[in-house]
């Protein structure tokens, strides 16, 4: 490794980015498993976009971008959650709201030069500009998820795998749905800082989909998904430090390549069977 690359990797903004990548990969992998199992991948994608007007609106008002994005994503998540698990599969309604949200985000951005300047980093991420205070927020989301999830893990899994039976057994499936959607909104809010609203799928959904191939239980699936996220994030940062490419591009490329390899692995295994 040459001295210039080493010194780049040791700069404070790069160290912050690696820490952010580590913290984001934990939660993205965990929530990604449930996003796949509950078939809410499109809702996850939409939530990031619904957060866009919140982010540009916050920039317009001089508030933290993450705060606006988080509030809008949470409001969107709770609205989708309140309509029930099936509502998150309503692709036409969700897609229509997604498009409107993007338009609204653009409208807010064009209203001030400050918001307009941040538009690209909101859309495509800016992991190299993560500040120590943002790291604290990301860490706080990690802590909340790692405390809440073990408590609700089995009822959430039951309601994910078979909602009808879980409901008959007395699990409050609506509450489970709301908690899950809120957790998803929080994870998306912190993940947007790494890859932006447009590329969120590659960080929350793609690694979890690849992990399904390697793991044979929900817990190992989450571990694999987190690991793939970490490899994508850290690998992407390393590549961005070594060659002049945007980190977001490198991150989603690694994630997508791992997913593509996993899918070809599945196909070859099926042929053998």
């Amino acid at each position: 490794m040459n001295a210039s690359l080493l010194s780049t990797l040791q700069t404070p903004f790069m160290v912050n980015a690696f820490i952010a990548g580590f913290l984001i990969s934990i939660t993205a992998g965990i929530i990604g498993y449930f996003v796949i199992a509950r078939k809410t991948a499109f809702a996850a994608h939409a939530l990031a976009h619904i957060g866009l007007p919140g982010a540009t609106g916050a920039a317009l008002l001089g508030l933290p971008v993450s705060l606006g994005l988080g509030v809008f994503a949470l409001a969107g998540a709770l609205t989708i959650g309140a309509m029930g698990k099936k509502a998150s599969k309503r692709e036409v309604a969700t897609g229509s709201i997604l498009a409107f949200a993007m338009g609204l985000g653009l409208f807010f951005a064009r209203m001030s030069s400050a918001a307009n300047a941040q538009m690209q980093s909101i859309l495509f991420g800016s992991i190299l500009t993560v500040s120590p205070s943002q790291l604290l927020v990301i860490a706080a989301v990690d802590v909340v998820l790692l405390v809440v999830l073990p408590i609700i893990y089995r009822p959430l899994l039951f309601s994910t795998v078979d909602e009808n039976v879980a409901q008959a057994k007395g699990i409050p499936i609506q509450a489970m749905n709301m908690i899950f959607m809120a957790m998803m909104a929080a994870v998306i809010t912190i993940s947007v800082q790494a890859v932006g609203t447009l590329l969120i799928f590659a960080l929350v959904v793609t690694p979890a989909a690849a992990a399904q191939v390697f793991a044979r239980s929900p817990l190992t699936s989450m571990l694999w998904a987190s690991l793939i996220c970490l490899v994508s994030l850290w690998g992407g940062l390393f590549i961005a430090a070594a060659v002049p490419v945007p980190p977001s591009f490198a991150i989603v490329t690694i994630s997508t390549v791992i997913w593509a390899v996993s899918q070809s692995l599945v196909r070859s295994l099926r042929k053998e069977l």
């Binding site: 796949i36 009808n164 879980a166 239980s217």
Partner: protein, 328 residues
């Protein structure tokens, strides 16, 4: 299917029915004794249910003894699944009351095993059969728990009972519909339910699978005294183990012991097409559409053996796929 194959299938169904017949009578006797000693498995009193503004059925007034095997029959949309939803308190009555295992509906759900119609039909999780069955034991518990040896044994027993023990490590997403259903049954059985509710369990199974399932249900009812309710369209495969039926007719649920249910006129009225009940010298009963009493203007679409053979040929012309012959 050729005529010979049809004959073989019918013969195998008949053999299965005969094998189960003596056990059926024994169970009916023990059921009567058991039923006299305890509260009914379910009791409907003036029960009416609506979905939105639509009345599904009204005036349900019946009770079913424990230890019985009951079919829930009726035409599509008559409210068979709704009846199970009411018993589980997933849907509230708009009038009347329902008691299940001696308690108001919903209060005894931990004693009920439930296998819904679309059990994990489009599952996208890598959960295995064993992990799925485990959810039936501790899926409702909050917090972190280690699985005890006793729980592990119970899961093994349930998998064995459902005949899926050899595939316990297989993912649900890798299983056929029939195998997934066995897993769903094992999940329902793992908590030792007193009442087992199955919604269209025969729908995804071939004939061998249907017979296997009936054998499992016969064992649960006869040896373990479990009360079973099954939503079903095809009564024939279940007849050897049935003790009664809830039939949804003219917007009302009724209950009748199987002897009263097996009536051509009632079944004809129930299904809206002429139905004939046949009884063999051994005492087995079969239900079949009766072509001799069909209205003359009702076409029956079928194929001649020659046409059927052509349809199964690899070199068949594309147009032949759509050809049908009307036999009056």
């Amino acid at each position: 299917m050729s005529e010979t194959e049809q004959h073989n299938v019918q013969q195998s169904v008949q053999q299965g029915a005969q094998e189960n017949l003596s056990a059926h009578h024994t169970r009916q006797h023990s059921t009567q004794q058991h039923g006299a000693q305890s509260s009914p498995s379910v009791r409907f009193t003036n029960a009416t249910v609506t979905r939105g503004h639509r009345v599904i059925w009204t005036d349900g007034n019946f009770s079913i003894p424990r230890g019985t095997v009951t079919a829930i029959v009726g035409t599509n949309g008559a409210g068979k699944t709704t009846l199970l939803d009411v018993e589980l308190d997933l849907l509230h009555l708009s009038n009347g009351s329902v008691e299940v295992l001696g308690l108001p509906a919903g209060k005894a759900n931990e004693k009920i095993g439930y296998v819904p119609q679309n059990y994990a039909s489009d599952i996208d999780s890598n959960i295995t059969a064993e992990q799925s069955v485990r959810l039936g034991l501790d899926g409702t518990r909050f917090g972190i728990h280690r699985m005890s040896d006793q729980q592990r044994d119970k899961i093994t027993q349930a998998l064995q009972l459902a005949g899926i023990e050899n595939h316990r490590k297989l993912r649900l997403s890798e299983m056929s519909g029939g195998m997934r259903q066995r897993v769903a049954i094992a999940q329902a059985l793992v908590s030792d339910p007193e009442l087992l509710l199955l919604d269209e369990p025969l729908a995804n199974l071939d004939i061998a699978g249907q017979r296997d399932l009936v054998d499992v249900l016969a064992h649960l009812a006869e040896d373990l005294g479990m009360t079973i309710q099954i939503v079903a369209h095809d009564l024939n495969v279940l007849l050897p183990i049935l003790t009664g039926a809830i039939y949804l007719l003219d917007g009302h649920p009724h209950y009748a012991p199987i002897g009263q249910m097996m009536d051509s006129e009632l079944l004809t009225h129930l299904y809206g097409t002429k139905v004939e009940v046949l009884k063999t010298v051994q005492g087995d009963m079969f239900v079949r559409p009766d072509p001799h009493v069909e209205p003359e203007n009702r076409p029956i679409h079928t194929h001649t053996p020659a046409e059927a053979a052509r349809f199964h040929s690899d070199n068949k012309p594309a147009d032949d796929n759509a050809r049908q012959m009307e036999v009056r």
